[in-house]
């Protein structure tokens, strides 16, 4: 049943996502700078960027159609929904039944299709190139992500993310070998999907290898701000999904206010450590050629399928 505390928790989870997501990106930028022996930008640098962009006028290309203006809002809406259904603090989320883990993959897919279409809308060479590459990464990463979810869903006997967290967090501590495979595959996918280093470089511009940046070249002002914010939310959503699937401890259950309060610092701590590890992995890796990306994501896919097979072969004792 939908309870008042559930609704409050839900609203709080969304608000927290909107606030924390740019900070996570800022933290990542700081760690990267430290690891590369540069002086770091402040933690709230992404906020400065968003504020600047929101204040600027929009310059639209003459060939832009309504779809181009509409797409940033859709992408942003998809990411808000994704953040709303992934349990970050508590599993008591009234919106959670709206989409299970499979539908979550669908939400990311919807956002990807819209941003690719918007990239193709202006009709520039960079835009179509970016759109094509985004869809390429997408169709390689999506099956791997689905297989990861299949593995976890088979352990928890459910595809609902909230149920998965409840099952995994409150069982006896068992090390599942399949989860290790799935976790590695998920990390691979998360890097690719969030346009991070081995596949794409968030710091680059005007390079023939860029993907995400190539798609949003024509965006400006509030549209660009929304897309950047949505990208932050996507990173946050993936991080929280990873935490929920593989390190679910500390996420509160229903009607447990104290646990909810305790969950906040724990989440921040997990994100800090996770963000640092992400930055570390990004720093020690080099960007791959675009046609090495299929190998990279193919590895992720095979690892995820291996995880599934390990689950079926070794762990199911019927």
């Amino acid at each position: 049943m939908i309870s008042i505390s559930g609704l409050i928790g839900q609203a709080f989870a969304i608000a927290l996502a909107l606030v924390l997501a740019p900070l996570l990106l800022g933290w990542l930028g700081m760690c990267r700078a430290w690891l590369q022996s540069r002086s770091a930008p402040p933690l709230w640098q992404p906020y400065f960027m968003l504020r600047k962009l929101f204040n600027k006028d929009v310059v639209l290309a003459e060939t832009a159609s309504p779809l181009f203006r509409f797409a940033p809002f859709v992408v942003f809406g998809c990411m808000v929904l994704a953040c709303a259904i992934i349990p970050t603090l508590s599993t008591d989320l009234p919106l959670a039944p709206a989409a299970d883990a499979l539908a979550l993959v669908g939400v990311f897919g919807l956002a990807r299709v819209f941003i690719s279409l918007a990239a193709m809308d202006i009709g520039t060479s960079f835009g179509t190139l970016g759109g094509r590459r985004e869809m390429l990464i997408g169709f390689l990463a999506e099956p791997a992500l689905l297989m990861v979810i299949f593995t976890v869903a088979m352990i928890a006997q459910s595809t609902s993310v909230a149920t998965i967290v409840e099952t995994l967090a409150h069982r006896d501590f068992i090390i599942y070998p399949s989860l290790a495979f799935a976790g590695i595959a998920f990390t691979f996918v998360a890097f690719a999907e969030n346009a991070r280093v081995p596949v794409d470089n968030p710091a680059t511009h005007l390079e023939l290898t860029m993907i995400h940046e190539a798609m949003i070249l024509e965006y400006s002002g509030r549209h660009l701000a929304l897309i950047e914010w949505a990208a932050c939310l996507k990173l946050y959503a993936y991080s929280c999904l990873g935490l929920a699937l593989f390190l679910p401890w500390g996420i509160a259950e229903r009607d447990n206010f104290m646990a909810l309060v305790a969950a906040i610092p724990l989440l921040v701590l997990k994100l800090l450590v996770g963000g640092f590890l992400l930055a570390l992995l990004e720093t020690v890796n080099a960007k791959l050629r675009i046609f090495r990306a299929p190998e990279y994501l193919g590895t992720a896919f095979l690892l995820a399928v291996l995880g599934l097979l390990v689950r079926l072969l070794l762990e199911v004792k019927a």
Binding site: L81, P97, D100, T128, Q157
Partner: protein
């Protein structure tokens, strides 16, 4: 006075269609009368048929006997839940297509409009009879009428040689399929010491040995697979769909392929008796190959209708996967899971009929507006054809299997039924089936790629040709047809629980189990086939959340900041000299796929070199099956006929001798 039965209403509908067709034949050149009176009336009849079909879901089955045909061989007809689902599909989808056709067919394009109207309505009536037939005889007569009328519709533009060739290829494969179906019915009727009762009731009563029932199932798989486009009998689809006028492609892809699925379901779940587990594995394997093949080829096409035709092959593959899973579960008596897979099949039939017809009709509007169907010459049509473009977007999102539209629901149900497979009592299957799910995931993701290519290249970007500036939006009738189909797609997407409660009657008839007891426990907005803890999907909440955050986001941004903006030339990294030619072509967009999946394609590429006076790039992708299967068979047939011609010396004495020898041999063999 006995009240009018549903089946009688449907028979009247078929008759009215035939009368409408004949009326068109009476006035073959009166385009206005045919388009604005006969086709809308046909659409009205379609809606009626759809409503009757919907109302008969869950009702007891009705039978009728028609004393037409040969003496002592009456047509048996029956309307049960399985038929009713497909009648509903036929009615509602063909209504949209007929309305569209009212604005589409014009004077002076190949076949006279009156003849076209006749063929079109006979096609509709024969599909209805296929669904209602309750004996092998009526089924085959209706099946062949359907094949022939659609052949004539495909060859509407028969002055082009390629179109005639496409038509003959279609006819050939349709007949190979028909022979297989006939043999399958023969096996089920005759069997070992069979009664020879050709009605479906007689076939159900037969107790076939596993060998013969497997033979009947495999023959049916080949026969209906040929009509549906399963590998390797798929080659007619990408030829016939571009050849046919768009409403006909829509009708064939949206509805006719589903009659083949209906036939397969009818034989494998209803007529042939208890299934054996490996039947499901065969269907699953063929379905996986078909789906992967279809989607890969659809991503590399340069002709918009060929792209959609290959995408139809992919969807038929997904349906075969669902049928295979349902058969596997059914053979192990795991009826609840079989019901889940079968519901996915029915749902995907409905969803695909809606969105694929919509997309084919959109290509029709584009074709009329621009006279182009090569993707390389289109682009930017969203500015000139906003109605078609936005409605096509609905079809594209559904076809890419994305929430919250219809394609996602069936895909979700299919993936859920894969997730349950580890309960199977067969260790080997337990291993293989989840890996099959991986292929389904890949297919779904690739479908998104194909659809972004389709939509982005046709409707977005800059116009690749100057002539596109004169393109105009679709007319009122065309818009009405498109809106109708888009509405079906959206409704199927946001009301899955309501639809599944309807489908339930058919799964219950075939399996004795359904999803209704779990689905009914929750509101109409929530789809939880087993339990909400296990898996749930609420597309309305989904849609509302996204719409709300879009609207709220827009309002807040405009309110807190400003809504200022101006137009300027595209920035494009400061390089201003890029014309429409700098955009990706259809070939360019699919280059990554060609590169990654190179062994899957047979490619002929010409790359320009530095020394070329007139450098050009071309790439042609062909089907391996042509070169590995069809051409060798064609060569063999040609070679055999050459050998046989030596028998024909042209001298009558020799021919008489042949007859004499044949007679002697027959006497020898047929000696009592």
């Amino acid at each position: 006075m006995p009240s009018l039965l549903a089946i009688d209403t449907l028979l009247i509908a078929a008759c009215v269609w035939a009368i409408l067709g004949l009326a068109g034949l009476m006035a073959p050149r009166k385009t206005r009368f045919i388009a604005k009176t006969l086709f809308p009336l046909g659409a009205l009849v379609s809606v009626l048929a759809g409503i009757v079909g919907l109302a008969s879901l869950g009702a007891t089955s009705q039978t009728a006997v028609l004393v037409i045909g040969l003496p002592d061989l009456p047509f048996h007809l029956r309307l049960d839940n399985l038929s009713a689902i497909f009648v509903t599909l036929l009615g509602f989808v063909s209504a949209g297509i007929s309305i569209f056709a009212a604005g589409y067919f014009r004077q002076g394009e190949g076949t006279a409009p009156g003849l076209l109207c006749f063929e079109y309505h006979i096609f509709l009536a024969s599909m209805l009879l296929v669904l209602l037939a309750d004996d092998a005889y009526a089924f085959m007569v209706a099946w062949e009428t359907m094949a022939l009328s659609s052949f004539f519709l495909v060859t509407t533009d028969h002055r082009h040689e390629t179109i005639r060739r496409a038509g003959f290829l279609y006819l050939l494969i349709a007949h190979i399929g028909a022979i297989a179906i006939l043999l399958s019915f023969g096996v089920m009727t005759g069997g070992a010491g069979g009664s020879g009762d050709y009605s479906f009731a007689g076939m159900r009563a037969q107790q076939l040995s596993p060998f013969w029932s497997s033979a009947a199932y495999l023959l049916a798989l080949v026969g209906f697979g040929a009509k549906a486009g399963l590998l390797p009998l798929h080659v007619w689809l990408p030829e016939a769909h571009p050849a046919a006028p768009s409403p006909v492609s829509a009708l064939m892809s949206g509805v006719m392929l589903k009659t083949a699925i209906y036939g397969l379901l009818r034989v494998s779940f209803d007529l042939v008796g208890t299934p054996i587990w490996w039947w499901g594995v065969v269907a699953l394997a063929i379905g996986l190959a078909t789906a992967l093949f279809g989607v890969l080829y659809s991503t590399v096409q340069s002709d918009m209708k060929r792209l959609l035709a290959y995408s139809s092959i992919e969807n038929i593959g997904l349906l075969a996967i669902g049928i295979g899973l349902a058969l596997i579960f059914h053979s192990y008596r795991m009826e609840a899971l079989a019901a889940l897979a079968l519901t996915a099949v029915f749902y995907h039939c409905l969803a695909h009929a809606g969105f694929k017809s919509l997309l084919f009709l959109c290509t029709g509007s584009v074709l009329h507006a621009t006279k182009e169907r090569s993707l390389g010459k289109l682009g930017g049509l969203i500015h000139r054809m906003p109605w078609v473009a936005w409605l096509a977007l609905v079809g594209v999102i559904a076809s890419a299997g994305l929430p919250p539209l219809s394609g996602f629901v069936s895909e979700w149900l299919l993936l859920q039924s894969f997730l349950f497979s580890p309960g199977l009592p067969h260790a080997w299957l337990n291993m293989v089936v989840p890996v099959a799910a991986a292929v389904v995931a890949l297919v779904a993701a690739l479908a998104g790629f194909a659809m972004v290519k389709f939509y982005g290249i046709i409707f977005l970007g800059q116009m690749r040709e100057d002539s596109l500036k004169d393109a105009h939006d679709a007319g009122v009738w065309e818009k009405a047809g498109l809106v109708w189909l888009a509405l079906i797609t959206v409704l199927l997407g946001i009301m899955p629980a309501t639809v599944i409660l309807r489908i339930d009657a058919a799964t219950r008839q075939l399996l004795g189990a359904g999803l209704s007891e779990h689905v009914r426990d929750h509101g109409w907005w929530m789809l939880a086939p087993i339990s909400p803890e296990r898996a749930s999907y609420e597309s309305v909440i989904f849609l509302v959340t996204i719409v709300l955050s879009v609207w709220l986001g827009r309002w807040l941004v405009h309110h807190l900041y400003h809504g200022r903006g101006r137009r300027s030339a595209a920035w494009d990294c400061g390089y201003h000299f890029q014309g429409p030619r700098a955009q990706d072509t259809a070939e360019g967009f699919s280059q990554p796929i060609r590169r990654i999946f190179e062994p899957m394609f047979r490619m002929q590429r010409h790359l320009p070199t530095a020394r070329d006076r007139e450098p050009y790039y071309s790439v042609q992708v062909e089907d391996h099956f042509w070169h590995w299967l069809y051409l060798p068979i064609a060569r063999l047939a040609a070679w055999l006929s050459m050998r046989i011609t030596t028998l024909q010396g042209g001298r009558i004495a020799v021919y008489l001798m042949y007859s004499f020898i044949t007679l002697l041999l027959l006497l020898l063999v047929a000696r009592p």
